[in-house]
């Protein structure tokens, strides 16, 4: 099937590259301009977190299909410090930016499926999918 695209994140350039790759694939899959902007925003937030908190990691994107639906999967993974308390991080208003809607709760809202696997000292993997409607 579709190949995975991986983008290394270790600088702000990586964030832009990940956005670009994400937008391109979203367009190919057939997402409208609003959903393209949503997916790229989600990628931005995930990539920025890698850059800020884990120093480096990667964003990988691919097309997925399930039960007749097509979608786009975005995986952010790093071997950074991990997230200590995932539950509180997912609470609205927790982010350091403080109630501006962005951050991980924002990513969850922008995408349809969202899952965090994070272990202290081990790293973080965040898998999210946006389905085409």
């Amino acid at each position: 099937m579709q190949v995975q695209t991986r983008v290394d994140i270790h600088s702000e350039w990586g964030i832009v590259a990940a956005r670009q790759a994400g937008r391109k694939l979203a367009k190919e899959i057939g997402f409208g301009s609003v959903d393209q902007a949503r997916i790229t925003t989600a990628i931005s937030e995930l990539a920025r977190n890698i850059y800020l908190y884990a120093n480096q990691g990667e964003i990988s994107i691919e097309e997925v299909a399930s039960a007749g639906k097509r979608g786009m999967k975005v995986v952010a993974s790093d071997r950074g410090p991990g997230i200590k308390d995932v539950r509180s991080v997912m609470e609205d208003g927790f982010t350091t930016s403080g109630g501006l809607g962005a951050g991980l709760p924002g990513v969850k809202r922008l995408m349809d499926d969202f899952d965090i696997d994070s272990e202290e000292e081990e790293g973080t993997t965040i898998i999210s999918i946006k389905w085409l409607r």
């Binding site: 409208g32 301009s33 609003v34 902007a37 949503r38 790229t40 925003t41 609205d92 208003g93 109630g99 501006l100 809607g101 962005a102 709760p105 924002g106 809202r109 922008l110």
Partner: protein
Amino acid sequence: MKQIESSLYQIYKEMLSNYLESKNEHTLYSAQQFSKEMIEQDMSPEDMISLHLSVFREIIQYVPDDVEDSFDVLLEVMVGYGLAHREHQSLRDRQRELESELNVAAQMQQSLLPSDPPSNENGVELGLISVPAGKMSGDYYHYMTDDHGRLGVAVADVIGKGVPAALCMSMIKYAIDSLPEQRLQPGPLLENVNRVVEQNIDNHMFITMVYGFYDPDVHQFHYAGAGHEPGFFYRAKTDTFEDLKTKGLVLGLSKKTSYNEYVAEVELNDMIVLLSDGVTECRYGNDFIERDQITALIRKYSHLTAQEIVENVYRDLERLQSFQLRDDFTLLILRRNM
């Protein structure tokens, strides 16, 4: 959903073409009304932008590339606004939830306080008002008449406000309830309550309390205080107020403390006034209210019943500080009337 979208599309298209033709205020007014409906339908700002662009495209047929491209930037920015908007909505829902939880808790707290109106028999009359600054109160009050007509009263004040203060308050209630043998021994009663408080709450919470009882047979008021705001003793004969001073440590500070017991001889129409510091810390502008302003208010209403006095004093003080209570307010007046 698709149907709603297409009808919104039609409405918006009509509005936009109307406006482009006539530029009239009436259309703008419709747009403003329309926005309410959009918000109600949970239409995000970015969807709105995109709706605008597609309608615009259809109406004017040819949109210059620059204009079209500029929408990419606008859309990206609006996604951020959309997120903030949705977070705001979810926080608002959460707030409603908390609010209703708090309402239930406040009702439960209310049920901890004496619910029967004070009986005004046995030659003594009781007036009482207690108003929390928020939903829950850190003030506690208690009154109870025993089989011999002796009336025990208490006012306690947890330093702090809101839920933590309210939780402490419930402990005071259970402590007093569990000490029936000490109802006529204000000093030992406070010593026991102090022990409970000292064992059960952490060091940075403080509770002050005054406890006393009136004995109608000998017309005496026995009382003791634990660091509490001094009340007043009103002598009807001379029409003067004295401070009801007590010596005694705040509750919960030290394991072993003793509390002095005092006795006041109560003559006809004398009043005993107990209060929480929400009364003395009433503020108007930058000034605290003076204690003699409170006694002046009590005197002003002293021809009324004890209950009417406390209610009127509260009303005046409430107005004085523009109806914004900063702290829980409790005022209790006991008057010998036989």
